[in-house]
Symmetry: C2
Subunit: 495 residues, 2 copies
């Protein structure tokens, strides 16, 4: 297949044709979660956006190596009650162990990602698992003259980097003179030559729990360094695609560029991609402000801003109805609309899978209309992964399927086009957009059974057999299924 993918490179602010560094192989690195608390829905949007990007690259036939890290090297300190002296008298097993927290939230993250039907990365490296690689990278940067040691810490020398003609700020568009002159001196940072210098290695205080020996004494790596070191280790000194949330552009990704260039003398990333924010009440979702929503609150409906619970795949569909570079505002109303669309799409997919092809006279206009719409699905995805346009096109196909489906048979188009249509609908809905998984199929069985019960109950009501209809209602209720008769028919909820 000839590939004709264009993507928006944040570095130059333009859509460009995607051409991998090494023929058909694509290396993609995405900044993963910090596993010291639960992942919120804003983080999930970023990971779902890049999941679709990885899925489409694979769908196009690229050989993809997808690396997403776990940031587990944190800055946990023992508090006063757990002071160093007290601890040294205690058995190790009685101490706070950060890696227990890491394990808890890594498991939580994996669980949420699996509910959202995202593919696991090819490699999921941890920051604490790559301390040596980070130390080696610092050594190279020092050797090349772009970092200096002071009091057991190592800082990147931003001024020297700029003076040598490199552009610090080129990704984020920040003004460097301002960065250099304007940065406030934060506490304990007086040892830096310049306020905009950033830490590659930090000397650890006694209270620090996570620390390692290094040529500069006991300490821990600076946060920006892990992605540079792990990206280079698994994807090479220059990576095809590096992605992350918009908020990581500065300082994180800007620092990654400076680290890569100064260590390996090559721009570390060919295409930078950034996913936009999910807002709540028009404001950025963020742990620190409390303006946040957890995935499980949506799946259970247990948050005052929600009218009901929504399934993970509906939330995924809702997110994909916006382009990854657009801000998306979360609301219960918008989610309800997405749920209707999602069900409609799934229903059409089912119809199309079950429909029988019975050749009739070919309606050539319809035939070419369908072929054009199929090609439009590719066209939209090739246009910087435009999922909302792709979904809109799939709905046009759904419309045609529903119109042409005549008592479960379909035949006004050529068999070739029919097969192409089935393949494309399944390919885009399942493989590219990732809108179905095994779990939902197992829930399907319960759903089908409930629907069956309700249809029998309906019939009983029509036959005025109220004893049976009441019996069904009560027995369903006993096993935790509540049914509600309304104007538009009977609905139910499973607890």
């Amino acid at each position: 297949m000839i590939k004709n993918l264009f993507l928006y490179n944040s570095l130059i602010g333009e859509k460009v044709k995607f051409e991998p560094i090494a023929s058909n192989n694509v290396g993609i690195y995405v900044c993963g979660p910090t596993v010291y608390s639960e992942v919120h829905l804003g983080n999930c949007r970023t990971f779902i956006s890049f999941d679709v990007i990885v899925r489409y690259l694979k769908f196009l036939g690229y050989n993809v190596r997808y690396v997403r890290n776990i940031t587990d090297a944190g800055h946990l300190e023992n508090d006063a009650d757990f002071g160093e002296d007290k601890i040294s008298k205690k058995a190790k097993i009685e101490q706070l162990e950060p890696m227990e927290i890491v394990q808890k939230y890594t498991l939580d993250f994996h669980n949420v990602m699996s509910l959202f039907n995202t593919l696991p990365p090819s490699i999921e490296p941890t920051a604490t698992g790559h301390i040596i690689e980070q130390i080696e990278m610092i050594k190279s940067i020092i050797k090349n003259g772009y970092a200096y040691e002071v009091n057991g810490s190592v800082y990147f020398d931003v001024k020297k980097y700029i003076n040598d003609g490199y552009q610090y700020g080129k990704l984020s568009g920040r003004d460097i003179d301002e960065l250099i002159s304007g940065s406030r001196d934060l506490q304990g940072q007086q040892e830096k030559k310049n306020p905009s210098d950033f830490a590659l290695w930090k000397n650890a205080s006694k209270q620090h729990i996570m620390k390692w020996p290094s040529p500069w004494g006991t300490g821990f790596p600076g946060w920006h360094l892990e992605c540079s070191a792990m990206g280079a280790k698994y994807l090479g000194d220059q990576i095809d695609i590096h992605g992350g949330g918009m908020d990581l552009k500065f300082p994180h990704h800007e620092c990654e560029i400076a680290q890569g260039v100064s260590a390996n003398n090559v721009d570390p990333v060919k295409y930078w991609m950034h996913a936009n924010m999910l807002t709540l009440n028009g404001k950025r979702m963020s742990k620190s402000t409390g303006n946040t929503l957890l995935p499980e609150e949506i799946f259970s409906g247990e948050n005052e801003i929600l009218k009901k619970a929504f399934s993970p795949l509906v939330v995924r569909f809702f997110m994909l109805q916006a382009h990854y570079r657009s801000v998306l505002d979360f609301s219960s109303v918008a989610l309800s609309a997405s749920e209707k669309g999602f069900n409609k799409l799934m229903e059409a997919k089912k119809v199309l899978s079950n429909v029988k092809f019975v050749q009739k006279n070919i309606n050539t206009e319809l035939d070419s209309q369908i072929v054009n719409l199929i090609e439009a699905c590719y066209k939209h995805m090739n246009d910087d992964f435009n999922t909302p346009q792709t979904i809109a096109t799939l709905f046009e196909l759904v419309s045609i399927v529903n119109t042409c489906n005549n008592a479960n048979s379909f035949g006004e188009i050529s068999k070739e086009t029919f097969i192409y249509l089935q393949k494309t609908m399944n390919g885009f809905i399942l493989d590219v957009l990732g809108l179905d998984n095994l779990d939902s199929q197992s829930n399907d069985k319960s759903a089908q059974l409930v629907e069956l019960m309700l249809s029998i109950r309906n019939e009983a009501k029509n036959n005025k057999n109220y004893a049976l209809s009441d019996q069904i209602r009560n027995q369903l209720n006993e096993i935790g299924i509540t049914i509600k008769d309304g104007k538009e028919g009977t609905t139910y909820s499973i607890t």
Copy 2:
């Protein structure tokens, strides 16, 4: 609760009272899988054995930190076609990357462990993630005089260790003189002072992919070292319990003792525990001989030695019907018997959960019989985690429940005893033996719905409403549920 747990310490070959090093805190380290291929059923038995041990320690009220490692530092070499020269000319992304294999089989392992309803460990450290800790431990051993460097490799000096009065071989009961004099010289091992010396660090050949810088040059750690380094890091220089498969006693665990003693001057483990083998056709299950069975082959029934598929919890139950220190032979017949027992136990649990307590005259003999059986459950688990005896006792309780259950009511014992009985059955079946999980509960919903449909159909048949009863049969059939009327009632299967 006063704890009265006895366990078999492999080091001394005796059952002893368990007394943790640090009051109520228990540290337990279990050697985890090597993630270069799928985990076979023999490995699973070891992990299920220790899962029950951890569960019971928690059930008794201990504060447990459970560490199980992932062995991902392997010895993969590029083969001829991927020789070093060729590779250096290629982009990193085109190379074989061992960590992709690690990720694949780690995910597979986690999936299988979750199907078997084992609890995740508190910390799951990887060998590649702790190279620094291993290097530091080697430094200590060299400093203390028990290791030497030669040609970029470091070996443990077994003779020196023995000459200083330490017992190498005390865990495995091997004769040391024999070990020292009898070991064959393997290729490339001539550089060792003595054939029984083992590698702490190996100089890496050019073909080696996974290698790190060290004070002795580029190389990789010896296999025995990772568990010593990670155990000490997360559980202290002396660990309460160290477990693993029987086959790890020598050389792996024997070497761990020598490493711990010579680095930290303390016996690294208070209680050694070893789980026995699962055999197939009377022979040890092993990847290398091909005498092996994969978990998914049992879950799908796709292996010629099986008559049918078995669910993960039935396999778990089958394993727990043998004591962890006994050899257990796998067969389809034995598994079928376990399935019957499992279903009987689950049915009794359900009856006991749903039964109503209606106080009648108290049968004091029965009351004390039940109390005695409950106490026997604890007694058997306190006796070196004797799960087969515990299960046998649970069946005695099941028998009583089934006999005394009179039209879903129960009242010949005191309310206190009744509550104690419910709590104990649930506690041992769910928390200790781990014989139920969420997945089976979600399947439960479908099962409940089918049962409901069948009862409505039955009623319809009794009322000679054959139109409705046929309709239900046909509609169930349409969604993949086949029902079969027999002498003993109606059964069904879901496809």
